[in-house]
Structures are given as structure tokens and as C-alpha cells.
């Protein structure tokens, strides 16, 4: 099965990098799902949970503080202002 290569980047670090089966991102106009082989796509993300199905089928979630999502040729890049575990306080700095 083809995987989507997901990279979650914040100004400070690479939060996440790896293949995922699917991705649900908090786009500005609602949640948007991305599967492997998705068409080239650019969207604005708001603050919220970024869910994905990891390579071994496990559902995982991280929280992002808004940013931009780019999907192109099997690669999804999330440029987030900040990121952390769900429920964790906003990362200090990024977008204050």
C-alpha cells in the first residue's frame, strides 16, 4: 500500500517525519482528509488536532497551532506555528 510521507515542521524543529496511511488536518474551512496519491493541494490550517493513521494502522493525533498544509506527489508537509501533544498547552513563543 502506498504511504503518504508526512512531515510536520515548526520553526524550531521537525516534529514528525514518516509514512502514514491517511491524514486528517484542521483546515480553515473544516477538517480535510488526505490519502496517498492526493492531488497537489495547498491549504491554510487553523489551530486544532492533526490526526493520522500510522504505518501500522494505529490512530495518532498531535495538536498544531495553525499553519499551512502542502500536499504534492505523495508528500504532505505541515508548516505549523507550533505543535505539541493533544491537550498540552500552546507552545510558548511561536504565535504570540
Amino acid at each position: 500500500m502506498a504511504l503518504l510521507q508526512l512531515r510536520v515542521l515548526t520553526p524550531e524543529r521537525v516534529v514528525l517525519e514518516g509514512g502514514v496511511r491517511s491524514l486528517v488536518a484542521p483546515a480553515w474551512d473544516g477538517r480535510v482528509g488526505v490519502l496517498p496519491r492526493h492531488a497537489a493541494f495547498l491549504s491554510i490550517l487553523r489551530e486544532g488536532p492533526l490526526e493520522f493513521l500510522s504505518e501500522d494502522g494505529e490512530r495518532r493525533e498531535i495538536r498544531i497551532d495553525g499553519g499551512v498544509l502542502k500536499v504534492e506527489s505523495g508528500q504532505a508537509v505541515v508548516l505549523a506555528d507550533g505543535a505539541g501533544e493533544p491537550g498540552e498547552a500552546r507552545e510558548s513563543g511561536a504565535a504570540r
Binding site: L9, P11, W28, I44, G67, V68, E72, L79
Partner: protein, 286 residues
């Protein structure tokens, strides 16, 4: 043995200085490692953001976006100088200060009214002493800068640029080539002028629109640029300090060698003299 006692005292003092410089060298080495990791960790975001801005940029956007506006002439310019809070790092700070002065002079020569924003106590102390007006001063950024620090520095400038109060914002910071080489450089932070490259905007499904995505991205991009510079500056400072303290330690070692030599020579001369006196005295008794 008056002379040799002075030499002994100097040996003691140089030895304790060497102990201090060696410790500072070790501290800088360990901080350098962390600072370099930070520089490396900041790079993927900066590269991806630049790639996106470049891909989306189009002449039509420049008219709608305040941060892309390329003023016909530069009337008001801001220079943001990043220096260290502490010294003992060789020519690191003075190189940055010199570059800032060069940058200010160049802008003024072009007829622009300049204002200077300084981060770091060293740059601040210099320009305060010289009596230059400083538009804003920041000294709270330590060894581990955050994107929040970058935002605090560049946020007000970005807003004023967007409002048309500034025509350009330049930043003077250290380029971290390696721990041994950290030359100063000037970066044009605003207006954002993406290097011409592959335009990819057309191939994408854009939601909501290229313009709005660029508007969302640009402030973050500017912030990432400044954050990257802060991170490089912090790493450069530690690298420069390590090099400076290394040569100070080596130097202290050389001085110690020389002092020890002259101490031994004085001691030997004294012994020789005492023997000569004894021999002379014995000869006189015969």
C-alpha cells in the same frame, strides 16, 4: 631572591587566568553543540517556507500584499542588529557592529532615513556610547532563542512596513559557516523578495486562494528568517568564544613556560653565586 618572588607571583596569576579561560572554553564547547543542533533543527521549516513562498509568488500578488511591496525608493529604512549579550568572544561583536555601521552608511548614502534596532547588550553598549539614537533595544534573548523572541523583534517592524512607514528592513547577523568562521552578513528581511524560481502555484488546488495562503505564510516566513538568524548568532557566539578562549588558554601556557624558565634561571644564578661565595670564602681562609 627578590626578582624570583615576583616571577612566582606572576606564575600563580597566569595559572589561575588559564584555569578560567579553559573553563570558559569548555562551557562554550558544550553550549556550541546545543546551539548547532538548534540551527540544524530550524532549517527544514525555513527551507519549506521559502520554497512555498517562491512557488506561490507572482507579480500580481505583489500589489495586494504589503510584505511583498517593492518600494520605488527607500525613504525610511530600519536596520536590525543582532549581537551577543556577552563579550569574551573575539571579534564576533565588533565584526557585527562594523557591518551594521557599513549598512547604515550605505542606506544613508542612498538618501534614506535610518533607524537602528539593536538586540544584545554588546551592540547596545557600543551605539549608546557613540550617542546614536536607538529605536528599540532588546537584551533579554539568551543562549536559547525562541520563535517568540524573533516575533518580538520583527513583529513591530513588519507591521510598520505593512503600514508603509518603512520601506526596507535589513538585518545584520552572523552567518554560522562553522564554529571557526562566523562572518557578519546583511539580510534583507523586508520586503520579502523570493528568488525567482519554479512557480508551482498553478498546479495546486488552492484553498482558499493563493493570495490568502501567501498572506498567512509571509509573516511566519519573516519570523522564521529572524529566528534562524538568532539561532545562527547564538551558535556563532559560542563558536567564536570557544576559539577566543582556546587561544587565550594556549597563550597563557606559553607565558607560563617563559615565566617558569626565567624563574629557574634566577634560581640557578642565585645558587651559582652562593657557591662562588663559599668557594671564595674558603679560599680566603687558606
Amino acid at each position: 631572591m627578590a626578582g624570583s618572588r615576583d616571577v612566582l607571583r606572576r606564575i600563580k596569576s597566569v595559572r589561575s587566568t588559564r584555569k578560567i579561560t579553559r573553563t570558559m572554553e569548555l562551557v562554550a564547547t558544550s553550549k556550541l553543540k546545543r546551539a548547532m543542533d538548534r540551527v540544524a533543527a530550524a532549517r527544514p521549516y525555513a527551507e519549506a517556507a521559502e520554497d512555498l513562498v517562491r512557488g506561490l509568488n507572482a507579480p500580481s500578488l505583489a500589489q495586494d500584499h504589503a510584505l511583498l511591496r517593492q518600494p520605488a525608493e527607500t525613504k525610511r529604512a530600519a536596520v536590525l542588529l543582532l549581537t551577543a549579550n556577552r563579550g569574551f568572544c573575539g571579534a564576533f561583536n565588533s565584526n557585527l557592529i562594523r557591518e551594521a555601521q557599513r549598512c547604515l552608511a550605505k542606506l544613508e548614502e542612498e538618501g534614506a532615513e535610518t533607524e537602528l534596532h539593536v538586540a544584545g547588550k554588546k551592540g547596545l553598549a557600543y551605539f549608546r556610547f557613540r550617542g546614536r539614537a536607538i529605536a528599540s533595544a532588546t537584551t533579554g534573548i539568551g543562549d536559547d532563542p525562541s520563535p517568540g523572541d524573533a516575533e518580538a523583534l520583527v513583529g513591530p517592524l513588519r507591521e510598520r512596513f505593512a503600514a508603509g512607514e518603512l520601506d526596507t528592513v535589513a538585518m545584520v547577523s552572523a552567518e554560522f559557516r562553522s564554529a571557526m568562521s562566523t562572518p557578519p552578513r546583511t539580510t534583507d528581511v523586508l520586503p520579502v523578495a523570493p528568488a525567482p524560481g519554479r512557480r508551482s502555484g498553478d498546479a495546486f488546488i488552492l484553498s482558499p486562494s493563493a493570495g490568502e495562503i501567501v498572506a498567512r505564510l509571509l509573516p511566519a516566513y519573516v519570523r522564521a528568517t529572524v529566528y534562524g538568524a538568532l539561532a545562527e548568532n547564538a551558535a556563532g557566539e559560542q563558536g567564536a568564544r570557544r576559539a577566543a578562549m582556546k587561544s587565550a588558554t594556549d597563550n597563557a601556557g606559553d607565558i607560563l613556560d617563559n615565566l617558569t624558565r626565567s624563574y629557574n634561571r634566577a634560581r640557578q644564578a642565585q645558587i651559582t653565586q652562593e657557591i662562588a661565595e663559599i668557594v671564595g670564602g674558603a679560599a680566603a681562609l687558606e
